[in-house]
């Protein structure tokens, strides 16, 4: 049953990802990325990451991608029109990519210990409570530093995007 869910959502994920790559119009890429994120959230749930799934929805799909869509609409960005001036990245890229995948698989097989199966609900460490405990005890300093980072990002974004006074 779990694998059925996994297969369904993995399929959705992959299809959306491919769509992201092949679509020429940014907004369709954005929507497919949202699809990827939503189905990834489901996969996280299958892996027992309740909190992270919710965070995926709230932060990624709910905030970041909205920002993307917002910007795309604001710039009213159209699809790519003219041919790329240099094609070699494409021609070099595709074989490189498969090579990359192959290597990843190889490394994965080499590095990973023989792995078991994923049964839903067998890992409860991902509940909001557990995450909170760990986040505010062991990872407190990174947490605070991240908040500072976000503050800086906000300031930077405002400075960058504000209207030039002229």
């Amino acid at each position: 049953m779990d694998s059925l869910l996994f297969l369904i959502f993995a399929a959705i994920t992959v299809i959306c990802a491919i769509n992201l790559v092949v679509q020429t119009h940014p907004i369709s890429s954005a929507l497919s990325l949202i699809g990827v994120m939503g189905s990834l959230a489901v996969l996280y749930l299958l892996l027992g990451g309740e909190f992270i799934a919710a965070a995926q929805l709230v932060v990624y799909a709910g905030a970041i991608m909205v920002l993307f869509v917002f910007v795309i609409m604001l710039l009213n960005a159209g699809g790519e029109r003219k041919k790329p001036r240099r094609l070699w990245p494409r021609y070099a890229g595709i074989p490189l990519l498969f090579l990359f995948l192959a290597l990843m698989g190889y490394v994965g097989n080499r590095v990973l210990p023989p792995s078991g199966d994923v049964t839903f609900g067998s890992f409860v460490g991902g509940s909001a409570q557990e995450i909170g405990k760990r986040l505010f005890t062991v990872y407190l300093l990174p947490f605070e530093v991240t908040s500072v980072l976000i503050l800086i990002a906000i300031v930077g974004a405002i400075v960058l995007a504000r209207k030039e006074i002229d």
């Binding site: 049953m1 992959v14 940014p26 890429s29 970041i64 910007v71 795309i72 699809g79 460490g125």
Partner: protein, 110 residues
């Protein structure tokens, strides 16, 4: 009522998740390489981040400890910050050059 027997194991092996994350990452790289629209390139980066998150969470399932969740949480937060700044940069670029073609923005070459 009994279900028909499934053509695959009832519970997915861990490697499936890792393979999925590898594929997603590769697709993200592909998007980065092939797309010429800055925003799409940016989104491919986000895709790669998601792929990494997936493997993080898979490993933390494997190791039965939630550090991986924490990491991916941080990744998300940093991604949020990055998106804010990056999109602001894109806005500025567009304001100055009226283009989103990534190859147009190459005044630093040679």
């Amino acid at each position: 009522m009994p279900l028909p027997p499934l053509p695959f194991p009832p519970t997915p092996p861990l490697t499936w998740y890792l393979a999925l994350s590898a594929i997603l990452f590769a697709l993200g790289v592909a998007g980065f390489l092939f797309r010429r629209n800055i925003i799409t390139v940016f989104m491919s980066i986000e895709l790669m981040l998601n792929a990494v998150n997936l493997s993080f969470i898979t490993f933390s399932y494997k190791l039965k400890q939630n550090d991986g969740h924490i990491f991916s949480f941080f990744v998300m937060v940093v991604a949020a910050a990055e998106a804010a700044v990056g999109l602001a940069i894109i806005l500025t670029v567009f304001k100055n050059r009226q283009t989103l073609e990534i190859d147009e923005v190459s005044s630093l070459k040679n």
